[in-house]
Symmetry: C2
Subunit: 242 residues, 2 copies
């Protein structure tokens, strides 16, 4: 098992990014083909993609569902190859879950028009393995089961999500506004809770607030949100003081 820093970074890349490079196998000659895609992460951290039947990669997947997704956390660095990136490898399967589709659109509100396009369908990358390059020469293999959220934790969190969201809005709207970076007059919405953090939005604009590390069990949720809020509040106070 990769150590916990490696896993924290891999999960943060997966949850934090909105676009990646998809590799598929050319349907005619089997060549590896890289294309740009938008994605969201499902509750369990599996990447969700909305693909057109007309796109090259989708036609490739019809022939062979094997695929990988490169998530590049190096943009903006002067020496990009010293920065972190993650390749998630598995199979892309059609996904008919309405909850997953809504999760996708919350992450990509600008794609809302695609709801009405008959050739677009949701796919889920069933993660088998991953490898992460955390910088020059620092390469780690990661098992799929360490990247996605364990079934029991997933189920427990799903059971408490609606209540926790209502509680946060009722009693801690100020914390939500802080976590989403709301400005005066704006009000943040908490749209989802998963084992790695909170999905927030201001209007249609999505914001992600990540826990420092994945929850060990669902009962850690309250403490994790409190710690996250405290960290953001301290950082905000420092910035104001500086």
């Amino acid at each position: 098992v990769a150590d916990s820093d490696v896993l924290d970074q891999a999960r943060a890349l997966l949850r934090g990014a909105s676009h990646g490079a998809l590799a598929t196998l050319d349907r005619n000659d089997g060549a590896p083909v890289a294309t740009l895609v938008a994605f969201a992460s499902d509750r369990d951290a599996s990447p969700l993609l909305l693909l057109s039947d007309l796109a090259e990669h989708t036609k490739n997947l019809a022939g062979d569902p094997r695929a990988s997704l490169l998530i590049d956390g190096t943009q903006g660095l002067a020496e990009r190859l010293t920065g972190p990136r993650l390749t998630v490898i598995g199979r892309l399967e059609r996904c008919d879950s309405t909850a997953a589709l809504e999760r996708y659109f919350r992450r990509h509100p600008g794609s809302a028009m695609l709801r009405d396009f008959a050739d677009f369908h949701l796919y889920r990358l069933v993660v088998e393995r991953a490898h992460q390059v955390a910088g020059f020469g620092r390469i780690d293999a990661i098992a799929g089961a360490d990247l996605t959220v364990a079934t029991e934790l997933l189920r427990d969190l799903a059971g408490m999500e609606a209540g926790a969201i209502a509680h946060m809005h009722d009693d801690h709207q100020d914390a939500l506004d802080l976590l989403a970076g709301a400005r005066a007059g704006q009000q943040a919405q908490l749209t989802g809770i998963d084992a790695d953090g909170l999905d927030l939005s201001i209007g249609e604009e999505p914001h992600r607030a990540a826990f420092a590390t994945r929850l060990g069990c669902a009962s850690d949720l309250r403490a994790a949100i409190a710690a996250l809020t405290r960290a953001v509040r301290e950082k905000s106070a420092e910035n104001n003081a500086g």
Copy 2:
């Protein structure tokens, strides 16, 4: 043949970018694997990569040299999938050309230390075909021969490059400084000329000045540099006036 606007855009992406997503075939199970790489373009526009024997993608290439490179021109756009990106598909072959290696290091001066690493070798992507997505639903197939520079033009330009570089420094240093965006006290170096534009540098920092379209023949070079300089001068005057 793709129309000339499509080719201009594809060549500009290839010449302008410094990093891309490489897709290779996993050496064990043949799965498509996407990884981040730095690249430069050779004189003929073929991508040049400097890869470590220790990297996953290099081990994959030892098993099967087929590869593709995604060049993403969408970064910074609010709706990235409306922006341009190019996938170049072919075979990655070891390249022992010193000129090509120097071209690579001019583009990536921060990688100079890799000269002393015995496990790093230069590779050249022999382009077979490409496809470009120029925005939502605008997809074009491009033949490799339309992306790379024709042999005759390549040879003619190579024959006049050294003389043209000397002439530009002797008589048109002001134009070079303008094209490289030099500030007061800085002096630009013209380090290379190819059919799509000029490679410049200020100190070790590389700058690319692209012609509006690829040269038809080597005798177009003088007019193309003049047109490029005029365009940059007009834009600079506009900015100063605005």
